[in-house]
Amino acid sequence: MSRGLVLLFLLVFLMLCIALGLFTGGMHLPPREVVSALLHPGQGGTAGTLIWELRLPRIAAAGMVGSALAVCGVVFQAILRNPLAEPYTLGVSGGGALGAVIAILLGISGLPMVLICFTGCCLSIGAVLGAASLKGFSNSMLILAGIIMSFLFSSLVMFIFAVASSREVHASILWLMGSLSSPPPGSLKMLLLMLPVMLGLPLFARELNLLSLGDETSYHLGLDAKKARAILLVCASLITGVCVALSGIIAFIGLVIPHAMRAAAGADHHYVIPSSMLAGAGFLIFSDTISQVIIRPLELPVGVITGIAGGIFFIVYLLKSRPAEVA
């Protein structure tokens, strides 16, 4: 399939997902009211409030988090040259989880909880990148440091689970599964702050192309591989940190979408990055809508949906592709 066609297809897919998110949700709303609320923004009423204050912000958050996780997955897979790499490989989620669990334990919620969680993410990013930089910033060191840090943080989380009350444990587990149901008021602004960094990543498509050939080849072609890797890893980790802080650990998007886009659009990051952004946004908006309606009136954590859908896709993809194409 030609690449222009892939991008066009993804754009249409994203539009359809946004429309689906607007017309369906936890509460039933007749389509005519949705259209009228959309056409008259200041109108108020149940439909107006539902559309402008609940559904649209939630679609915006899902779109931004989805495309951010997908594009971070692209960056991590290219830099670590590991098909299993994803935004959480370097242990960002571990720090975030610890922060969130501590906040829940202390009864903190809303924006302060998001900030504590983001602090946890930054701590683990700092620890992993710091440890790896002592050993020449090699891929194996980065991955090992990430795994060790994840283990360390999850052990601390387990420790807290062991001593906390069952209500707190339940709240924590729901958070860990990833959800977009209640982003606190200031959090959309945090996402908007992250947006310029995320939209800056396509400018590094050339560097990612070279880095995916290996450090030595990229060095021979005139790239400062160490510097490019450091900048991209810090940016992608911080973006992931914001996503984790706002929506918990949403599984599989950062792993599956980059693979799917490489299969559809090839390895050139000039196409993989924009197509992953579109696909990630559409996929998370779609999954989030499903999570609201599938066991109505209850809501499923969106991480459950992305995990199941992503897992099935990944198995099919692995079985259908030849070994050389997986990498």
Binding site: S212, G222, G266, A267
Partner: protein
């Protein structure tokens, strides 16, 4: 004038140096071959010249300038490095993969210009890759992959091409094809080439100059006739050989003798060959 000079360079990894006090010059134009047994320091020398390793002491100069002070992209515009192929690249198309070699010539916001595209198209044509330009590079055969790497280096439009074992893992027809290409580039494009080769006969046939390394030091340097002598090869490789003259190219040709034949190397069977072919010498 020499395009590359290596002056008293010592380099290595961790504690022990692998190459010691190495001095030589690569003349502009032509092919210079580096030969030597495993562990002699060929790749360490290659990595030092290509700036992956920093020399512990000594200087490498490109057209008189110390390469350690050269900006990275400028170095990449003038020197192309093709390491021994190891990694299977991600599924770029052949054309995309080769185009990445234009990186040092292009800016972040300026995509490939018409001139860049012309160079890429010409190189694909020259290396016989034009008809497979849309194939995925990770699905190529060993010979095609080697040519794709070579093409990527050539679109850098370098003055000096460094290659580590470009013929490794290739069958004899692909070996000859790659070396013929390199040979014709050195003549038509005036490209200077430094190449590590394991096969002494290929080095003899294609190189204008040969450098033999032994235990991190230069054992011999000069024309193939000066370097590839029976005595030097037997001492460096600790293997019995005979050196004759190739009847077609008149360059030295090395005959390797199995150990089993070494015990009777002065005996009748070999002598008989000497007499009948008249090409074996006992220098």
């Amino acid at each position: 004038m020499s395009i590359l000079t290596v002056e008293r360079v010592t380099a290595g990894y961790e504690k022990a140096p692998v190459i010691r006090d190495v001095t030589f010059a690569v003349p502009g134009g032509g092919i210079t071959g580096v030969v030597g047994p495993n562990g002699a320091g060929k790749t360490t020398l290659f990595r030092t010249i290509s700036r992956i390793l920093k020399p512990w002491s000594g200087t490498v100069r490109f057209r008189g300038d110390d390469i350690s002070g050269m900006p990275r992209r400028e170095f990449a515009r003038r020197v192309a490095v093709i390491p021994q192929f190891r990694m299977i690249p991600p599924p770029f198309t052949v054309e995309e993969f080769v185009s990445l070699g234009r990186y040092p010539h292009t800016g972040r916001l300026s995509p490939l210009k018409q001139q860049d595209r012309r160079i890429i198209a010409e190189t694909l044509e020259l290396l016989g890759l034009a008809h497979i330009r849309t194939r995925k590079v990770n699905a190529l055969s060993g010979g095609e992959m080697q040519r794709a790497y070579l093409a990527q280096g050539l679109v850098q439009t370098p003055e000096l091409l460094l290659m580590d074992e470009p013929t490794a893992h290739l069958d004899i027809s692909h070996k000859i094809r790659v070396l013929d290409l390199i040979d014709s580039l050195s003549v038509t494009a005036g490209l200077s080439i430094l190449v590590i080769l394991h096969d002494l006969n290929l080095a003899s046939g294609y190189c204008n100059r040969v450098l033999m390394l032994e235990k991190g030091e230069i054992r011999a340097a000069g024309t193939p006739e000066e370097v590839l002598t029976r005595r030097t090869i037997e001492e460096v490789y600790r293997t019995p050989v005979r050196v004759g003259k190739d009847p077609v190219t008149a360059r030295p040709h090395i005959y390797f003798l199995p150990r089993s034949s070494a015990v009777r190397r002065d005996g009748p069977p070999v002598r008989q060959t000497e007499k009948t072919n008249g090409v074996l010498t006992n220098d």
